[in-house]
């Protein structure tokens, strides 16, 4: 087997100067027996090498679906990408054939999942599952692949990697399992890593270790990292920029310090107000009232309007608010961003 990495590099239209990853107007819907659920409705964002972009939002806002659409692992049916582009170095991945697409996965763009126990195949050793990558993508021999697997386990700081390589996922602790997941994602030196809630299932101390590990590996390799989370606390420490998603749209995008300083969208503001902060000790936390809309039934106009304190008549009318450039490198989809920024 020839080196697949080389083949990926000669993808037609590949432009090394183009942005590492650029998502434009991505639409994803799920066609189910209960109707069409519009999971992603025009998400757009970009990612540069070495940068960490956090995608933030409540469950069901379309973050994970977006990530899966980028990876091309959307369950289809029922999931369908109806519109938009996913450009990697200028190449629209959505236009590639499935076999070309597959070579991009793990090689260029890799992903780690929330629940490492169920995300790892219970009946194979972690060594097998790691080595499999080298065997499938690099055509390595069994022995070489295994040695690489051990190296990887070492790199993610799993003690006794050489002996543990033959263990099964259920024999690892939660944190160790997530390290295995990370090792697996980084095996082929991808340029983009998508981490979908990588620490949600872990306890707090382990969370910090895993985030530290991710940051360390990202620095070493100059990867672009997309961190999908609903946890604003995690974001603040590691992210460069933040995209806030609501009902399948990116409602605000901004550098992390700007957002923390002054959110430009009422939803972002509400999210920030719902995190406990040491400096505001004693104050009551504000929960966001109401529930996110059902994806089969997204409100007209701004999808957030039924829950929004700023909402006025224009918010309830189509079209939805455009992405207002509210500052350099900053957009927000709110007709009243000035008022929000002002508060």
């Amino acid at each position: 087997m020839t080196d697949i990495k080389a083949q990926v590099d000669v993808l037609p239209g590949l432009d090394p100067r183009a942005p590492l990853l650029q998502i434009n107007d991505l639409h994803v819907e799920f066609r189910t027996r209960d109707g069409v659920a519009k999971a992603v409705n025009g998400a757009s964002f970009w990612l540069n090498p070495g940068e960490t972009l956090a995608i933030l939002g409540e469950s069901g806002c379309g973050k994970s679906v977006t990530a899966q659409a980028i990876m091309g692992i959307l369950e289809s049916p029922p999931g369908h990408i109806t519109r938009g582009e996913v450009r990697y170095r200028g190449v629209d991945l959505l236009k590639l054939r499935e076999d070309e697409r597959r070579r991009v996965r793990a090689n260029k763009i890799a992903m780690i999942f929330q629940d490492a126990l169920s995300a790892l195949n219970p009946v194979y050793t972690v060594g097998f599952q790691l080595a499999e990558l080298f065997r499938a993508h690099r055509g390595m021999s069994r022995g070489d692949a295994k040695n690489r697997a051990i190296e990887l386990l070492d790199q993610v700081h799993i003690p006794g990697a050489r002996s543990r390589v033959n263990d099964y996922p259920h024999q690892f602790s939660g944190g160790m399992r997530q390290r295995v997941m990370i090792a697996m994602a980084l095996a082929l030196d991808p340029e983009v890593l998508i981490a979908d809630e990588p620490t949600t299932a872990l306890d707090v101390t382990v969370q910090a270790q895993i985030m530290g590990l991710l940051a360390e590996l990202q620095r070493q390799r100059n990867m672009g990292l997309i961190l999908i989370t609903h946890d604003m606390g995690v974001v603040a420490d590691v992210a460069d920029r933040i995209s806030v998603m609501y009902a399948g749209r990116v409602v605000e995008e901004a550098p992390v310090y700007d957002i923390y300083a002054a959110p430009g969208h009422p939803y972002t503001r509400a999210l920030l107000e719902s995190i406990p902060r040491l400096d505001l000790k004693g104050q009551q936390l504000t929960a966001i009232r109401g529930l996110p809309p059902a994806l089969t039934d997204i409100p007209q106009g701004c999808a957030f309007n039924p829950r929004c304190g700023y909402a006025k008549e224009p918010c309830r009318q189509d079209p939805a608010p455009p992405a207002y450039a509210i500052a350099p490198r900053r957009t927000a989809r709110c007709h009243f961003f000035r008022e929000v920024l002002g508060d």
Binding site: I73, E75, A110, F113, D115, A119, N121, T125, A136
Partner: protein, 308 residues
């Protein structure tokens, strides 16, 4: 693991006695007039009846007959059938062909069931899926009493692709048609169970991971999904192999294979207690070993299952 196997082997001994006891009791309950059953419709003289009754202890009570049988069995003597043949000899002559037939049938069935089951699980609701559903239904609706003679007629007699009958020393090729017929009797259930199990596993998170790893769909399904889906299938295959050993009466009749099934049926019909109990005893041992193998296979398939 070793202790587990030893324990299972000990259980086997108990089960073996249980099974012989149950079958012996059933045969005893079934006993009407084995001597008449033997000669058919011809009249029997009193002396002949008296002599045979004494020779085979037919007048004794149940426990005494059972005791008599078991004490012989423990010395390795399976006894004589009511037709005067040694049961050990009957066993050794009918056993090999049945084992070969059942193994062939189960391999054919399992290969088809797993391949088609996985394929239709992937293409759920597609043409292939609905096609196999219809086909398995057809097989189910066709009892083996129809299937076997029709297959023999079409493929053996009309087309001449296979020999019309087999025999005890039949070649692989001669056994192929009966094996396919037998496979048809079990393939439907195996296929549906494979399909269901694969469908469930296709939704598992590790499948998403495997796809994110850029693995070819073939590898995702056949390496990652299948092994996780096999436990119920293996279970069924184990049971089916047992059923094929003893329950192939019709197929063995149609293709003239003097195997375990037809000998057993003959024994039941002629109320030949020693014959039936002898054959069933060996069958039960076979089932027990089979189950042990299946249980060990569970552990081999799924490392989370451990036996202590």
């Amino acid at each position: 693991m070793f202790r587990y196997i030893v324990r299972r082997l000990l259980q086997m001994i108990l089960t073996f006695f249980g099974a012989t006891f149950v079958v012996f009791a059933l045969m005893f309950a079934n006993q009407d007039d084995p001597i008449q059953a033997l000669v058919g419709e011809k009249p029997i003289s009193d002396t002949l009846r008296a002599e045979l009754t004494e020779r085979y202890h037919l007048d004794d009570g149940f426990l005494s007959q059972y005791w008599h049988y078991m004490s012989n069995l423990l010395t390795g003597d399976l006894g004589d059938s009511l037709t005067g043949r040694e049961i050990s000899e009957m066993l050794s002559s009918s056993w090999p062909v049945t084992v070969r037939l059942a193994l062939m049938a189960i391999v054919i069935a399992a290969v088809i069931a797993i391949a088609a089951g996985v394929w239709s699980a992937i293409r759920r609701g597609g043409l292939f899926d609905n096609g196999t559903l219809m086909f398995t239904l057809l097989l189910l609706a066709m009892p083996v009493v129809v299937l076997a003679p029709v297959a023999q007629w079409i493929f053996g007699m009309e087309l001449g692709w296979f020999p019309a009958t087999a025999s005890r020393n039949a070649t692989f090729y001669a056994l192929l048609l009966p094996a396919i017929v037998l496979a048809c009797t079990v393939v439907a259930t195996q296929l549906r169970v494979t399909r269901t199990s694969v469908v469930e596993n296709l939704r598992a998170d590790y499948v998403r991971t495997a796809r994110a790893k850029g693995l070819a769909p073939r590898r995702v399904v056949w390496v990652h999904v299948l092994r996780n889906s096999l436990i119920p299938v293996i279970t069924l295959i184990g049971v089916d192999l047992g059923v094929l050993m003893s329950g192939a009466i019709v197929t063995e009749d149609v293709f003239n294979i003097p195997g375990v099934g037809s000998k057993l049926a003959q024994g039941v019909r002629t109320e030949d207690g020693p014959l039936v109990v002898g054959f069933v005893s060996v069958l039960v041992i076979f089932f027990l070993v089979m189950n042990l193998v299946v249980d060990l296979l569970y552990a081999a398939l799924d490392p989370r299952i451990r036996y202590e």
